[in-house]
Symmetry: C2
Subunit: 370 residues, 2 copies
DNA sequence: CATGCCGATTGAACCGTTTCAATCGAACCT
DNA sequence: AGGTTCGATTGAAACGGTTCAATCGGCATG
């Protein structure tokens, strides 16, 4: 139930000065810089100066202007300022999915840095759809964002490079710039895969499975490659044959991880350890193992990837490869600010090192345990 | 350790054609509507019409304009449009912490609705600081957002109501409007607390602890009140004395939950069940219990609140009170759009019902178990 | 006393769009 | 033929700031 109440005009003595716009909304007439100027008895230019370069206006004038601003409740319009060659004080942030804690942490990192510089974040989830990404990129361009932080959904960076070429400082998040001249902040996924596999090999595992997402996702391919590198390095030593088998699932979700357990246990001989391409998969695998009455690390060592907040709280607590998510976003934001404000700038690729966090879910295989 | 690899500039064949503005930035001259008009041989008004009211321009003219837009790569400026009485096509979203999955899910709900209406989201984390909230509100006002979705950090809604009075459609997220004339979308936290406590009481628990956040947070106070209501209702029955004790921690984090375990186990006699004001606290409690070599639900039944994604994957899987997070955000966004576009509108408060999800972490106390 | 300089202030142009009233041509009506 | 109507198009005035060159007054200097 609602009433179509057209709000009565406030009791103003005399003429109705503000035109009633669309029925029923207050739509108070905005205070402009001109109102402030006339109240303070100065020109609009002086008000503008008081706002942007207070040092060049006389102290008493400044005070009068500030007084007038307070009295009128004036709030400057970014849009108007932007029009006259200015900046929009806005940064576009495009991630694959804002509901994914990995991206959320990154965005927080970026937000904390950008806030200090007066930027607002326009956050968008592409849902891994290049179409939706394009839609958002277009909108961000219309808003004339001063910068762009983006985890591209596809391999095609041309649209992004086009924006960057238009003068929009751009930093790729968790994605390499390839040949395009762009900044990027990434984590070394090959190294991460290596860390995970090396850890298991050191523990004495010689038959490792890898539950992986689609090979089209760069992170998945890299992590697998890293793991295989470690395996090959080990295998080269005499008297030691290491088996490495991959199970590919269509998406990096707990659900698919759980379903992968069937295939995992069907492997002959059964592997003694499993690396999962991310923690969600690992969570699913743990759950699936529990259903199958198998208990890690006894029956199978499990290693995840991402070290999400919850990894440490599982039981067994999950061994995982940690990525500096917050730092990733914060660093990307700093690069962005540097590019947006500093004159001199050269595109840079910053690569973070992942870190293995060993917990209870990984342990030496039964066979060689004392 | 990280490497700051400075990428070499890509080899470009020939002349650097783009004008260097401030050292090193492309800063290509923007294509304006005038460029499009002159290329298409029409007036700017016609181009504007082609953009906004294509039906009133002659088909062949329309085609010529669209051709010109494509050729020039014209992208309209939202800011310029906004200036001339238009809208900013932007909505401010202020949550307590974007890194908290509860808010993230809400924001996703809002995003999905708002995207369809062409709005961009300016997302801000107030970190529960009214000061930071105010900072953001000011910035959002400067950006002339077309709407505001906000979970207020404090009890003081005056600043928010002021914005709303200025004609900015506003919807409170997970927070009541009290006396202010505002829309709000909430979940019945009293009911949620009741559900949690009632569940434990039904299982036969008679000594329940409540790990709560600061009482200044309305949600915390309400959940506690709901739980106490259930306890009192039970206590009224003869021959049954129910003990209910509260442990207050300064913030709703896993860390504080873990630290609360000390106080929890120090209670004399030790409670047989614990309700946590949210899942993060519950996770911390689970972890702390594990460190203390106690295993829920055997040694202590644990109930959380929020039912975050990971709650179901813990072991024991966490019994929790689910809130329709995504729906909350989506509904708020729909209210916002209705208020922003429809002329007729009356402020509404929509209240969702929480739902108890029973899992392995809660079970009858040892004493009365068969 | 004339001159020059400097800090403070200001008028006016400008940014890129939307929109309104005015114009124009063609078709239609009497 | 003259008048009317209607659809398509357009010139120009906003919108609300920023900025630049010009102005002004006061003070020190020659």
């Amino acid at each position: 139930m609602r009433t179509d109440g057209v709000e009565p005009a406030p009791p103003t003595a005399g003429i109705v000065q503000r035109p009633v716009r669309d029925a029923g909304r207050p739509a108070v007439q905005r205070v402009t810089i001109r109102d402030v100027a006339s109240l303070a008895g100065v020109s609009v230019a002086t008000v503008s100066n008081a706002l942007n370069r207070p040092s060049i206006v006389a102290p008493d004038t400044l005070e009068r202007v500030q007084e007038a601003i307070a009295r009128t409740g004036f709030v400057r319009s970014t849009a108007a300022g932007q029009l006259r060659g200015g900046k929009s004080r806005t940064v576009g942030v495009v991630v694959l999915d804002l509901a994914n804690p990995f991206f959320t942490d990154m965005v927080r990192g970026a937000e904390d840095v950008l806030r200090k510089h007066g930027y607002m974040l326009m956050v968008c989830s592409s849902d891994e759809s290049t179409e939706q990404e394009l839609h958002y990129l277009r909108l961000l361009e219309e808003h004339r964002v001063d910068g762009l932080l983006i985890t591209p959904a596809g391999h095609e960076l041309r649209e992004i490079a086009k924006l960057a070429a238009y003068g929009v400082p751009t930093v790729l998040l968790d994605r390499d710039a390839n040949d395009e001249a762009l900044c990027s902040v990434t984590v070394d996924d090959i190294r991460g895969g290596q860390l995970a596999a090396h850890h298991l090999l050191e523990l004495g595992h010689a038959d490792i499975a890898f539950v992986n997402g689609p090979a089209t996702i760069r992170q998945c391919a890299d992590r697998r490659e890293g793991a295989m590198t470690a395996v090959r390095a080990k295998g080269r030593r005499p008297r030691r044959d290491v088996v490495f088998r991959e199970i590919e699932v269509p998406a990096l979700t707990a659900d698919h991880g759980e379903r992968a357990v069937g295939a995992l246990l069907a492997l002959e001989p059964r592997p003694t350890a499993v690396i999962c391409a991310n923690d969600l998969l690992a969570l699913g695998v743990l759950k699936g193992l529990a259903s199958a009455r198998l208990a890690p690390p006894e029956d199978l060592a499990v290693v995840g990837y991402d070290d999400v907040t919850f990894a440490s709280m599982l039981s067994p607590a999950l061994t995982s490869v940690r990525q500096p998510k917050y730092e990733l976003g914060a660093t990307a934001a700093r690069l962005l600010v540097e590019e947006a404000t500093g004159g001199a700038h050269e595109h840079r690729s910053i690569r973070f090192e992942p870190e293995l966090v060993v917990r209870a879910s990984s342990r030496a295989p039964r066979a060689i345990r004392p």
